[in-house]
Symmetry: C2
C-alpha cells in the first residue's frame, strides 16, 4: 500500500527564493520558453551564462538535444519556471553534448524514453566534441516510474559518457524494465578517467525485476573492465533498491564509493569487474529479518573496503555483509577473476548473521557438468582483513564462513564479541572480547569496550586510511573498527532531506482504506474505478453475473462483505480474464466464489504494456471451471503471487508463469506461494513456473507449496510432471498430499540449488525426483 | 667472430675523478671492505650517508643481502674501490631490502645466480618493510653472460619489486637461459604504482633462445595484468636483443616507453597484456634485409603509439613495424584481449616492407582444431591511425595489410609516398604524396615535401602529444610525422657512450684470424687450445688418427690446409664425439674427411652445462661410419647448424635435434640448413628436428633442405618418416632427390604454418604429405 504525500521543505523554499526563479527571468541572459520549438531555438542561441526557463506545465513527447558550450564560471542552464512544476511526460528524453551545461528541477513522469536512455550524456556517435558531454550536470530532478512498456526493452535512465559529468540531488525510483537505472559508459577514450560525480541522490525503491539487469548503478561492463574510470559515488541514499542481486555493479577501475547509505535494499555493492575500487565509510542497514539485504561482494584485485558499518544484515553467501568470491583460474573476460590484494580494514559489523564469507560461489562440485571456464576454484590470495570489529548479540558458529579455504587471507587484529561461542581465530587474527553496544541512533549501535592492549595493525599503506566513518582523523589513534570512540553525534543517515531534491519527497502519509460496498454486478467496475489505491470493494451476498473483465490498475481488495461468500459467475469470452491485472494492479481476492465457463480465465495480466508490476493474493476462495486460473503473459511481473485456503477445481489449466522462455534469467514472479489449497481436476499447467539460463548470480524465483492437496490433476500435462518449476532457484514442497494424479513425476527438483521437498504424501501420482545438476543454456 | 676491446672513456675518467673513489674512502662515512663477512657487517652498521667500498678484485660466491634505510639526501651506497675493478663471480647474487640504497660500478661475470635472480629488489616474502626495496638503485654496473648452466633453469638478472627503484646506466648482455633478463613484478600491493625507472641502459646482445621466455624486459605477467604499474623504460639502447619474438613484453598498465633505440633486434616491443601504455619517440632501426627485426605489436586497450621512427624494417606479420593483433572474444586472462581505443599518431616509417598490419594472428580458419577460447576473431575497434608518414623507396602492394578487416580503425591524414603504386586509401585516410628523403644520419632519413595543405588531424586528446621525436614542441605546428621539419641535428642514437656504464664498452676491434697449422694428430687439441676465437686450424694432407674428443669452446675453423682433404679417423668409444661442442664452441669444418667406428659420433654438444650456445657449419666434407653425425643434447642450443656440399654415408643416425620434449616451445637450433648434401645409407634420424607445444608467438625453428639427395636412408626409422620436423614453424624442402628410401613418408608438412615443399624428385620413397593442422599440446 503506497500513499504519497508530496511536501516542499521550508528549506527548499528558502533555497528557491535565494536562487530566485523570477530574478533569473528578469536577467538579460534568461529566456522563458513555452514549447519544444522555442526551447530548441533557445538552446541554439544560448551563450555562456544563458538560463533557459521552461514554462510551468506538462511538456509532453519532447526530445531535447542540449548542445552547447558554457564555461566553468558561466554555464548554460535549463530550469523550470518553478521547481517541480515542469513535468516531462510521454515519449521524452534529454541528451547532452558539449561543456558546462546544467539541467535542474525537472520532473520526469508518466512516460518513457523513446531512445535507449531518459538522460544521456551523449547525443550521437559523430566524431565531434559537441556530441558528447563534459562537465555537464543534472541536478535537483526527479525521474519516477519512467518505464518502457515492455520489460525486456532495455534502457537506462541516466547514461553517462564523457568526463566530469554529474548527477546530484536527484530522486530516482520505480524502474521495472530491463537495464540499470544509471550507467557509466567508458568505452572510447573520450570517457575514461571520467571522474563523474554521482552524489547526494536519493535512489528510491526499484522493485525486484525478476531476472538480471536490474542494477541501480552499473559502472562500465566487462568489455571495458580494464579501463580507468575514477567515478565517485558518494552520499547517496539507496532505499529499497531491490532490482536484482547487485545494487551497484562496479565493472571498471579506481571507482570510489563513499558515505552512501544502503537501506533495506535487497542486493549488494559488487566489484563485479575491474579493480582498485575504494569502498569507504558506507552504511549497510538491515532489519534483522530480511535475508536479501546484502553488503559488499568482492571479485577481482586491489579493492579497499574500509570504515564501513553493517547493521542487522541477515544475508548469507552471495548476500553476506562481506562476500569474497572464488574466481575462475585464467578467467574469461566476462566471468570471475580471482580476488587478490584486497584490504578489508576498520569495518564494524553489528548483529549480522554471517559477516565474512570466503570462497563464495565455489562450484568445484559441478566440474562434470560445467565447462572448465565456468569453474570457480581460485581462492582469494594476498588479502588482508584487519582492525575490524564484530559484535553478535547471539554468538555465531563461524565468524568466517569458508565456502572454500580462506588460506590466502591474512587476519590481523580483529576483535569479536561472539557471546562466548567458540570460533576459528585464524592464528590469532580474530580475538574474542566482551563488548557492549552504545546506541547512537536506531540503526547505529557502536561496540565499546575494546581491550586497551588492542591496537590497529599497521598494514602496507594503511596510513592512506586517513579518517574514520565519521571523518575523524585516524592520525593520532590506533583505534580499530569503523568509528574512533563512541562519543559521536547521530549522523541522521536516514533523514531523507539530506538526499535527493529540494522539492520532492517519497515520504508517505498513512491513510485508512475506504470500503466501497457493491450489491449488483453492473456497479462493480464503477466502484473499482472510484476506489483509490489501498481501498476495499465489499460484495454483498449473492450472485454477480459478469461478462466483461474487471480491470485492476491499483492496489485493491475485493471480498465478500459478510461471512457468506459472494459469487462471481463469469461468462466472458474464451481467453478473457475475469480480473484483468494491469500495470500497478495489485489485487487481493478474499472469501469469494469465482466460476468461469471452462474457456475464460480467472486472472490474467495484460499481454503487453505491463510497464509496472501486478500482484495477486487469493484467499478463502473457491475457483472453478476456468480455462486458466492465472495466466501471466510474457514480460509481466508480480513480486508476489499467493493462493491460500483456496480451492481450485475443474480447470483446464492452473497457475501459468512460464512465458519467460528467452533463457536470459527472467521469470514472472519473485514469490509464488501456495498454502493450504486444494487442487482438483486441474488438467494441465497445474503449477508452471519457469526461469531459463545458467546465471549463478540470479538467485530467485521462490516457490513454496505447502499443506496443499492435489487430486486428479495433470491428466493433460504433456511433460508428465505435475509441478513444473524448471530453473527456479528456491523451491520448497512440503506437507502436501498428492493423490491419483496421472503423471510420471510430481516434481523434478534441482539438487545443486535450493530445491527441497519433505513430508509429502504421494499416492498413485508418480515420483518426486531430484536431479543434482540441471543442464542449462549458458547466458554468457 | 667476436673480439672485445674494453676501453675506458676519457669522460668516465673525468667522472670518476670528480666522484673521487679515494675521496670517498677518506670520508668518515666510508669503509673499505675486503670480504663478505666485512661487507655483511658494514651493511648492518650502515647509516644514512654511509658508503661501503669493495676492495678491487674478484668477489666469488657471495650472496649479498643489502638491507638498510638510507634517506633521499643521504642514501647508503655500495661501490667498488675502482669502477669496473670489482667483479662478482661464481654463484653470487645481490638482494635489496629497505630504502634509498645504491649499488654502483660492479661487474657480474663468470658465474650465475644460485637463486632466482642475480639482482633482486626483494630479500624475502616476510611481512616487513626492510625485506622489500623502495627508492633503491643499481647503476653503472655490468652483468655479462651470467647464465645458469642449464637452459631450462629459469632466472631473472634484474628482478624488480617494491616502488621507485631504478636500473640505470648498466650494460647487460648474453643471457641464454630461460627467463626474461629484467622483470618488473607487481603482484602484491607493495609493488603496484611503482614508477620504477629503467633508463640509460645498454642492453647488449641476447642471443636467440630457441623457444619462449627469452624477453629482454618483461613487465608483470598475465596474472597481474590488471594492476597499475607506471614503469618508465627510457633512453635505453637495445642491441641485438634476439632472445625471442618479444624484446619487451609489457603486461601491466600505464607503462611508458620513451626514446629507446631498438637496433638490429630480432623482436618487437609488445603490449602483451595490460593497457594504456605510451610508446613515444622510440627508434626501431633495421638493416633493410633481416626479416626478424620487428617493431611494435599491439594487443589490448588504450595504447598510444606516437612520435616513433621506423627505418629499414623488413619484418612482416607478428614482426611488422606496427602489428595490431586480433583478440579472442571474452579472452581468458592469459590469452589475447581485443585491441580497442588505440591511437597510432605522428609516426614515420621509412623503407619498411609492411608498415601496418591489422588482424595479425587471426586463426579463424583453425576453428575446427582449436578450442573456442583460442580463436582470435575479434578485430581492433575504436582505433585511430593519424598523422603518420610512410616513405617507400619501392612501392608496396598494400600500405595496410589486412589479415582480418581493419574496419574498426579510423585512418586520418596519413601521407604515403608509395612511388605511384596504388593502394587502398581507407576513405581518404591515407593520401599519396611525392616525398624526398633528407639524410640526418645513416639510420635517420626524414621524408620531406609534405603538401602544404596537409594538416594534422586533431583527434581526441591529441593535444597531450606535446612534443615530437626530438622533443620539439608541437604546440604551434600542424605538422605530421615523427619529426617537425627536417632541419634537425643528428641525434647520434647509436653512439654507445650515451648508454650503459661510464667504464665498459662492447665495441669490438677488428682482428684478422690467425692460421695454426697442424701436421700430426697429437698436436690437434693443443693447437685448438692455443687458438683464440676466430682463428683457423689448418690440417696438412694426411690421415689423423684421433681417439679422444676434440674439445671446442670458442669460434674456430678446422680445415685442410690445401685442396686435398685431410682425413680424421676417429676410434673413440661408443657415444663419444670426435668434436665435442661445448658452451661457446662454434665450429666450422671445411674440406675434411671424417670417419668413425659406427658407434661413436662426429659432433655432439655436452650433455649438460651448455650455458652458452654452440654452432656448427660443415662444408665440403665427407662423413661416414658414425653412430650419429650430430647429437644435440637437451638444453643445448645452436643459432645455426649448416651442412653444405657434404656427403654423409653409412651412419646409424643422422642429424639429431629432438630432445626438447618438454613441449614448452623449446628447440635445439634456430636454423638448420642442409644444402647440396648427399645422404646415403643413414639408417635412422636422418633429420630429426623437434619443437613441441602450441604457441602462436614462437615463430621458429627454420629448416631448409635443398639440392640434396637421400638414398637408401631411413631403413630403421621407427615412425617411417625420413625427414622429421614436428612442430618446426618454417620448413622448406626443395629441389631434392629421394630415391629408394624405405619409409612411408618423406616428410609430413604442417600446412597451417610456413611448411612448404617443391620440385622434389621422389622415387620409391613413400610420399610427401601436408597436414593442415597439427594437434599440439596447449602450452597455456
Amino acid at each position: 500500500m503506497i500513499k504519497r504525500f508530496i511536501y516542499v521543505l521550508t528549506l527548499s523554499f528558502l533555497i528557491c527564493s535565494c536562487q530566485g526563479d523570477s530574478d533569473t527571468q528578469s536577467d538579460s541572459n534568461s529566456s522563458l520558453v513555452t514549447n519544444i520549438t522555442e526551447l530548441t531555438n533557445a538552446i541554439k542561441e544560448a551563450k555562456p551564462g544563458t538560463t533557459i526557463v521552461l514554462k510551468n506545465g506538462v511538456w509532453k513527447d519532447i526530445q531535447v538535444e542540449f548542445r552547447g558550450k558554457g564555461t566553468k564560471e558561466s554555464p548554460i542552464t535549463i530550469k523550470p519556471e518553478t521547481v517541480g512544476k515542469v513535468t516531462i511526460e510521454g515519449e521524452s528524453d534529454l541528451k547532452f553534448g558539449g561543456e558546462f551545461l546544467i539541467v535542474e528541477g525537472l520532473h520526469f513522469k508518466n512516460g518513457f524514453s523513446p531512445s535507449n536512455a531518459v538522460i544521456d550524456f551523449k547525443i550521437s556517435n559523430k566524431d565531434a566534441a559537441d556530441e558528447i558531454a563534459n562537465n555537464c550536470k543534472v541536478t535537483n530532478c526527479v525521474i519516477e516510474d519512467f518505464n518502457k512498456p515492455k520489460r525486456d526493452n532495455s534502457d537506462l535512465w541516466v547514461n553517462f559518457w564523457g568526463r566530469h559529468n554529474e548527477l546530484s540531488n536527484c530522486y530516482i525510483a520505480g524502474k521495472t524494465n530491463r537495464g540499470p537505472t544509471v550507467r557509466v559508459n567508458i568505452s572510447g577514450i573520450e570517457s575514461i578517467n571520467n571522474y563523474h560525480q554521482i552524489v547526494n541522490n536519493h535512489f528510491g525503491p526499484r522493485p525486484v525485476k525478476g531476472g538480471p539487469s536490474g542494477e541501480t548503478i552499473q559502472l562500465g561492463d566487462s568489455y571495458t573492465s580494464m579501463s580507468p574510470s575514477h567515478t565517485m559515488v558518494a552520499n547517496n541514499l539507496f532505499e529499497e533498491c531491490n532490482g536484482e542481486v547487485e545494487i551497484i555493479s562496479s565493472k571498471t577501475n579506481f571507482n570510489e564509493f563513499k558515505n552512501n547509505v544502503f537501506y533495506k535494499s535487497e542486493g549488494s555493492l559488487v566489484t563485479r569487474h575491474g579493480n582498485y575500487v575504494t569502498i569507504d565509510g558506507n552504511y549497510f542497514i538491515g532489519d534483522g529479518v530480511n535475508e536479501n539485504y546484502g553488503g559488499i561482494r568482492i571479485i577481482n584485485t586491489g579493492h579497499w573496503v574500509v570504515n564501513n558499518y553493517f547493521y542487522g544484515l541477515k544475508g548469507k553467501s552471495f548476500r553476506s555483509p562481506l562476500a569474497v568470491m572464488n574466481g575462475i583460474p585464467k578467467s574469461p573476460l566476462n566471468r570471475y577473476n580471482q580476488v587478490t590484494d584486497v584490504v578489508v580494514a576498520y569495518n564494524t559489523y553489528v548483529n549480522c548473521s554471517s559477516p565474512w564469507q570466503f570462497g563464495v560461489g565455489t562450484n568445484i562440485a559441478q566440474a562434470d557438468v560445467l565447462p572448465k571456464s565456468e569453474i570457480r576454484s581460485a581462492r582469494a590470495i594476498r588479502t588482508t582483513v584487519a582492525n575490524n570489529i564484530i559484535y553478535n548479540e547471539k554468538g555465531l558458529e563461524s565468524i568466517v564462513v569458508e565456502n572454500d579455504k580462506a588460506d590466502g587471507v591474512m587476519f590481523k587484529n580483529n576483535i569479536v564479541d561472539n557471546q562466548g561461542v567458540k570460533f576459528n581465530d585464524f592464528n590469532g587474527g580474530i580475538t574474542e572480547a566482551s563488548l557492549t553496544l552504545k546506541k547512537v541512533s536506531d540503526n547505529i549501535m557502536l561496540p565499546t569496550g575494546i581491550p586497551s592492549n588492542v591496537e590497529a595493525y599497521n598494514g602496507f599503506d594503511f596510513n592512506t586510511i586517513e579518517n574514520d566513518l565519521f571523518g575523524t582523523s585516524r592520525k593520532d589513534t590506533k583505534s580499530i573498527g569503523a568509528v574512533i570512540g563512541v562519543d559521536v553525534s547521530n549522523p541522521n543517515i536516514l533523514d531523507k532531506s539530506k538526499y535527493g531534491t529540494t522539492w520532492f519527497s517519497n515520504e508517505v502519509e498513512a491513510k485508512d482504506p475506504i470500503t466501497h460496498t457493491v450489491t449488483k454486478a453492473e456497479d462493480l467496475q464503477t466502484k473499482i474505478n472510484e476506489a483509490t489505491t489501498g481501498d476495499i470493494i465489499a460484495l454483498a451476498e449473492g450472485i454477480y453475473a459478469v461478462n466483461k473483465s474487471l480491470v485492476i490498475t491499483k492496489t485493491l481488495t475485493i471480498q465478500s462483505s459478510g461471512n457468506a461468500k459472494a459469487q462471481l459467475v463469469f461468462s466472458g469470452e474464451a481467453n478473457m480474464p475475469l480480473f484483468s491485472l494491469e500495470s500497478k494492479g495489485k489485487l487481493t481476492v478474499n472469501n469469494l466464489v469465482l466460476k468461469g465457463n471452462a474457456s475464460n480465465y480467472a486472472f490474467a495480466s495484460l499481454k503487453e504494456n505491463m510497464s509496472n508490476h501486478f500482484g495477486l493474493t487469493v484467499s478463502n476462495t473457491e475457483i472453478s471451471d476456468f480455462g486458466y486460473v492465472l495466466k501471466a503473459y510474457k514480460e509481466s511481473f508480480a513480486e508476489r503471487i499467493t493462493f491460500e485456503n483456496t480451492s481450485i477445481a475443474n480447470c483446464e489449466n492452473g497457475i501459468e508463469l512460464s512465458e519467460e522462455t528467452n533463457d536470459k534469467g527472467d521469470y514472472n514472479t519473485e514469490y509464488l506461494t501456495i498454502n493450504t489449497c486444494n487442487f482438483n481436476n486441474v488438467k494441465a499447467n497445474v503449477i508452471d513456473y519457469y526461469r531459463g539460463g545458467y546465471d549463478e548470480s540470479t538467485i530467485g524465483g521462490n516457490l513454496l507449496i505447502t499443506n496443499s492437496t492435489f487430486t486428479n490433476c495433470g491428466a493433460k500435462e504433456k511433460n508428465k510432471t505435475l509441478l513444473n518449476h524448471t530453473g527456479i532457484v528456491n523451491v520448497n514442497i512440503t506437507k502436501n498430499t498428492f493423490k491419483n494424479n496421472k503423471v510420471q513425476f510430481v516434481s523434478i527438483l534441482w539438487g545443486a540449488k535450493n530445491n527441497v521437498a519433505s513430508e509429502n504424501k504421494i499416492t498413485n501420482s508418480g515420483q518426486l525426483k531430484t536431479e543434482e545438476n540441471l543442464k542449462m543454456k549458458l547466458m554468457y
